[in-house]
């Protein structure tokens, strides 16, 4: 129960940071998705159901905070938590989070997440499928994976 409250508080904090402060790290309009990193972390700690449920809750709150396209982030982050849950191994959690395996998981999960997100998000605009996937999806994925080095190093030092 205690860990769930902790997840809830940190999730709220990260949603505010993602929606309000990430623009400071924006490169050509691309921002890292720290919520995806956080959902991967939760899924590696809690397993597939925990990751999926938290993905949905975090995504829905993010949709409400940004005030746009309610349900899209909920959908993509649910899928994100579900996929990240495949990498859950109760005996190797700490090892996974503090190794380059964590970056790889973030990269895979983020790629799937961003592909779905941007393809739906850019419908109704002049931005085509390939531009949505490669320019926005891939760039955000690489940026997110790069930022996930930070928690990985923090956890590897803790170990």
């Amino acid at each position: 129960m205690g860990s769930q409250i902790k997840y809830f508080v940190i999730s709220l904090l990260l949603i505010v940071v993602q929606s309000q402060a990430m623009k400071l790290l924006s490169l050509e309009g691309i921002t890292p998705d720290i919520l995806t990193i956080w959902i991967v972390y939760i899924a590696l700690q809690q397993g597939q159901i925990g990751g999926t449920l938290w993905g949905f809750v975090i995504g829905l709150f993010f949709d409400l905070v940004t005030g746009n396209f309610i349900g899209l982030a909920a959908l993509t982050k649910t899928i994100c938590g579900f996929i990240a849950g495949y990498f859950f191994n109760e005996n190797k959690t700490a090892m996974t989070i503090s190794s380059y395996r964590f970056i790889l998981i973030v990269l895979i999960v983020s790629l799937i997440h961003n592909t779905i997100y941007f393809v739906v998000f850019t419908r109704g605009t002049d931005i085509g499928f390939l531009r949505a996937v490669f320019e926005f999806g891939m760039a955000t994925t690489l940026y997110t994976a790069t930022v996930s080095l930070l928690p990985m190093f923090i956890f590897s030092r803790k170990q």
């Binding site: 999926t52 709150f61 940004t66 899928i79």
Partner: protein, 282 residues
């Protein structure tokens, strides 16, 4: 029943993810219904309260820069006010001579930007005024530099403004010099687009683009931006026109909401005509 429960337990992960995907899709397909709007309104209120608290932290560097910009702007505006006064007097005289209807002046309500969500293509701002101040959805938002956007959601004390640099924002516009009409849109990037301008129309780099009288919600004559590029594509009917917005959204801190709602008489008349035309065509 027992067997069914066994199946659910065995595949619980898949049931959970399927259920949550269905709920998400339900939200996506019901984006504008009342329940979702109510939830959004509460969230806007809570987030606005947090952002309002955070905005109290002073930014010394920002203030100094803003001060300098405002001083320069003040000098330019003083000169412009004097010129406009002359023009207004002349305009009044001509109006009287021609017996034209007065366009009226805007009723403005000042608001502070307490939060920005510059999230790629759907950019919004949170303002510290809401329904209790008489703010309603669709009211236009402006700054001293020009058009900022329009209100899309409100709670009691806060409002969410959709910026013109938002892919869902559209408004009719006009080139001030040649009176050419077009539609303002934004597809990402640093520039706005002026769409539906045919190749025959007179438009040049440096032209000022303003809001036109065709919009039901945004008053005419508000500056939107300056044309920076005009491209004529051989295979297309329309020109590709880029303009730089007159408002710098990265440093947007104070705005004004024009507290007018669409002219109900005009809307009703236009709806009536559209309905009649549809009836005839059917």
């Amino acid at each position: 029943m027992q067997r069914f429960l066994h199946i659910i337990v065995a595949f619980k992960e898949y049931f959970v993810v399927t259920l949550l995907i269905i709920i998400s899709l339900f939200f996506i397909s019901n984006n504008d219904n009342t329940q979702v709007r109510t939830i959004r309104s509460y969230t806007v209120g809570i987030l606005g309260f947090i952002q309002d608290g955070l905005s109290g932290i002073p930014n010394v560097v920002g203030l100094k820069r803003e001060n300098e910009i405002l001083r320069k702007l003040n000098v330019n505006l003083s000169a412009e006010v004097s010129r406009l006064r002359e023009a207004r007097l002349e305009n009044l005289r001509l109006h009287e001579m021609l017996g034209m209807k007065n366009r009226g002046e805007f009723s403005l309500l000042a608001a502070e930007v307490v939060g920005k969500s510059l999230h790629l293509l759907r950019n919004t701002v949170t303002l510290n005024v809401g329904e209790d101040d008489g703010i309603k959805s669709d009211m236009p938002i402006v700054s001293e530099l020009g058009l900022v956007g329009k209100v899309i959601a409100t709670s009691s004390h806060y409002a969410i403004g959709q910026l013109i640099i938002n892919k869902d924002f559209r408004t009719s516009a006009k080139v001030q010099r040649s009176r050419v009409d077009g539609i303002i849109a934004w597809d990402g990037g640093d520039f706005l687009q002026l769409k539906n301008v045919s190749k025959k129309q007179d438009i040049k780099e440096g032209d000022i683009v303003i809001t036109s009288e065709y919009s039901r919600i945004i008053p005419r004559g508000i500056k939107i931006g300056i044309v920076t590029k005009v491209i004529e594509n051989p295979g297309k009917l329309f020109k590709d026109i880029e303009l730089v917005p007159s408002v710098d959204f990265s440093s947007l801190e104070q705005v004004f909401i024009i507290t007018v709602l669409p002219d109900s008489e005009r809307t009703a008349l236009e709806a009536k005509i559209t309905h009649t035309n549809n009836g005839k065509s059917n």
